[in-house]
Symmetry: C2
């Protein structure tokens, strides 16, 4: 049976009326003769409401219990979507992460999918049912409930599409596609028709609204991902591996991320293994470190700076302060008012001049750059978060992204 995986985000399921509209779209897809697996996020602000509830109990909720709590949001939306489908005469069954066979590692709140065992899903598809799967959640070997982190439903959907060898994974959102920049900041931002996995991965990693792991998985298993609008039939964006017709020697999009904090350890002994011991301490808590800068050594001491997600800052500071006791380091300071702005495009790989144009444009607008990090197809500047909207607009203009022909 040909299978299509569809993923519906929280804003597409914000109230009972929208749940019914989503059910109708799912039913229409099934009527075309394909098996449908629908992955749902929690309705509207449910996840934030549950987080608030947890914080009314304690300022530092136990991470295992927080995952039990948050996982209920997707169970609610999935059961309602399945009810709406049944009420329409379309046979359906909702499955939790456990029932759907989504097995994860045990790092609560940010678990990675270890394997998908879709036995139950296939059974239900073979009975002719639509299978509605709770996104964002999985289960450890010990059957503890885990969640996959913000945007985790995207990853659930792509992982299921891979495990089921689905024709494609359709991601439905209220935005309806991938844009050259956030349209709320840049009104002239243009929807991108197609983009390859690598470019999308860089955009997503730098703040575009998809979980980067979902794109990694899509690339690894060659799952075509289509990002579309839930409630219109307007064409969205296709993320795929084949060289895009649209790719030319240019920047594809501007991404930004406000979830950035910088930690600096002053006067660390400049010895082999010291930086490693700091980053090992952070990794042991599942904290990803992004940009790292180490200054030239003076008198055998150096300053070590790096960025982490702002949401990880309290836990990261705890680790770093403890490690400075072990490894040396005179003072730990931090700055939680930073943001990242990035230009992304495979066209940058072999062409010079992109970095200088980026830095010059920001300088002309009096935007000071705090740190810089690059990949083959991306340049990222870390700046004050209050300047992010201005920087995004300036760079969108500098690389002429509102024009389909771009800057060349």
């Amino acid at each position: 049976m040909d299978v299509i995986v569809q993923k519906y985000g929280g804003s597409s399921l914000a109230d009972p009326a929208k749940v019914k509209l989503v059910a109708r779209r799912i039913a229409r897809t099934q009527e075309r003769g394909v098996g449908v697996v629908a992955v749902c996020s929690a309705m509207g602000d449910t996840t934030d409401d549950l987080l608030l509830l947890a914080h009314q109990i304690t300022s530092r909720p136990d991470t295992r219990e927080l995952d039990v709590l948050l996982s209920t949001g997707e169970m609610i939306s999935c059961s309602l979507v399945a009810m709406a489908l049944e009420a329409e005469g379309c046979r359906a069954v909702s499955l939790t992460g456990l029932q759907a066979g989504i097995q994860t590692e045990s790092s609560f709140g940010r678990a990675r999918i270890a394997a998908v065992e879709p036995t139950r899903i296939l059974e239900e598809l073979n009975k002719g049912k639509v299978v509605v799967v709770a996104g964002f959640q999985g289960v450890t070997d010990g059957r503890d409930i885990t969640t996959l982190g913000r945007g985790g439903s995207d990853t659930s959907a792509v992982a299921l599409a891979a495990a089921l060898s689905a024709l494609r994974c359709e991601i439905y959102t209220d935005v309806g596609g991938i844009y050259t920049a956030d349209p709320r900041i840049v009104p002239t931002a243009r929807k991108i028709d197609e983009i390859d996995y690598q470019e999308m991965l860089e955009l997503a990693s730098m703040g575009a609204k998809m979980q980067p792991r979902s794109i990694e998985l899509g690339a690894l298993y060659e799952v075509p991902i289509e990002v579309s609008s839930t409630f219109t039939e307007v064409q969205g964006t296709l993320i795929h591996g084949g060289g895009s017709m649209e790719v030319r020697n240019r920047v594809r999009g501007i991404a930004y991320d406000l979830n950035v904090a910088k930690i600096t350890v002053r006067r660390v002994p400049d010895q082999p293994g010291i930086a490693a011991s700091y980053f090992e301490a952070l990794a042991s808590k599942g904290i990803s470190v992004d940009t790292i800068v180490q200054n030239t050594s003076k008198e055998g001491l150096t300053d070590l700076s790096f960025t982490v997600a702002r949401t990880d800052l309290p836990l990261a500071l705890e680790q770093v302060v403890a490690e400075s006791g072990n490894s040396g380091g005179e003072e730990v300071i931090h700055d939680a008012s930073l943001g990242k702005v990035s230009i992304v495009g495979t066209g940058m790989r072999n062409a010079p001049g992109f970095a200088s144009r980026m830095f010059r444009s920001l300088a002309d607008s009096e935007i000071n750059i705090d740190m810089i990090t690059t990949s083959e197809i991306r340049i990222t500047c870390i700046i004050n978060e209050s300047l992010i909207p201005k920087a995004v607009q300036v760079l969108h203009d500098a690389f002429v992204l509102d024009n389909e022909e771009g800057e060349i």
Copy 2:
């Protein structure tokens, strides 16, 4: 290890502040050196709110999906209680019905517990943790989520107490015990210090606020059940098997139930097997039939009346109308405005005069009796629901229940 099972109802967990108070009570119990398993209901009106949500999707929600939806209420309260315990420094873990090993039959919405496999619970108790178990829910052989019906958390708690050979099962409520009648109707109702399983079973079956199956299980496995107040230290009611010191030749309590509907099938062929086929059709849908009355036959035809829970009326009518097509029966009529009032007491077993005093008291107050049903230790009258409060008060007075010496 000595284990105590505690059950906390929804009104005891209505908001974060109450959740923290419940956690403190649990922690205090554990400090006395016993293992604690805390079974929690959904917070406050959560279950009703979820039902409302389902009914905004469809007037007849799929029962499997409804159970997935409703089961989230207990997951939320349990994770919050576990967080509150951890925040107090008391190690805790919340378990869903599946994780707690509560296996049920597959009749969604009213599943009976088939077995409890408390492996995980014992593991966690042995680690020194408080185990917080989601009440009201279980899982089928096929790992589908089920719920146990209204009051099901009582049954979860007693079943766990039985499986763990617990010292006792403590049921915490805002009422704080079992009364001779509902104190909201009869202000002079008296709290009962102890009562035996059989009497409590009759009271619960007739509307006292505990699930009758929990009492059956308690009797079967000889689990002492203590019903107490969550937020005070006032003595509650002990439900146990040993002959109660307090039992004398008297009525122990007045129960009532507003969840009653009557169905009458007019002019049914008076042949062997006809009544059976009606009740088999109802049983196949898991609908319990209560009082049954069959009138004397005229011309080979008879009227068959019986009561069902009012919440079962729509489904029951469907079955009965369909069956009247097969088995004969001219007309199906129903009345959803009925209630039950009962007097209960083991003292009634060998003493005459209770029935006549009951009927006389009701008649003196101009309360008309629609149907009558009795057990060895109970007499129940079905009357118009609007007359229930008056009837409860009249019978409480007639049997002098506000006086500890009672009516003898």
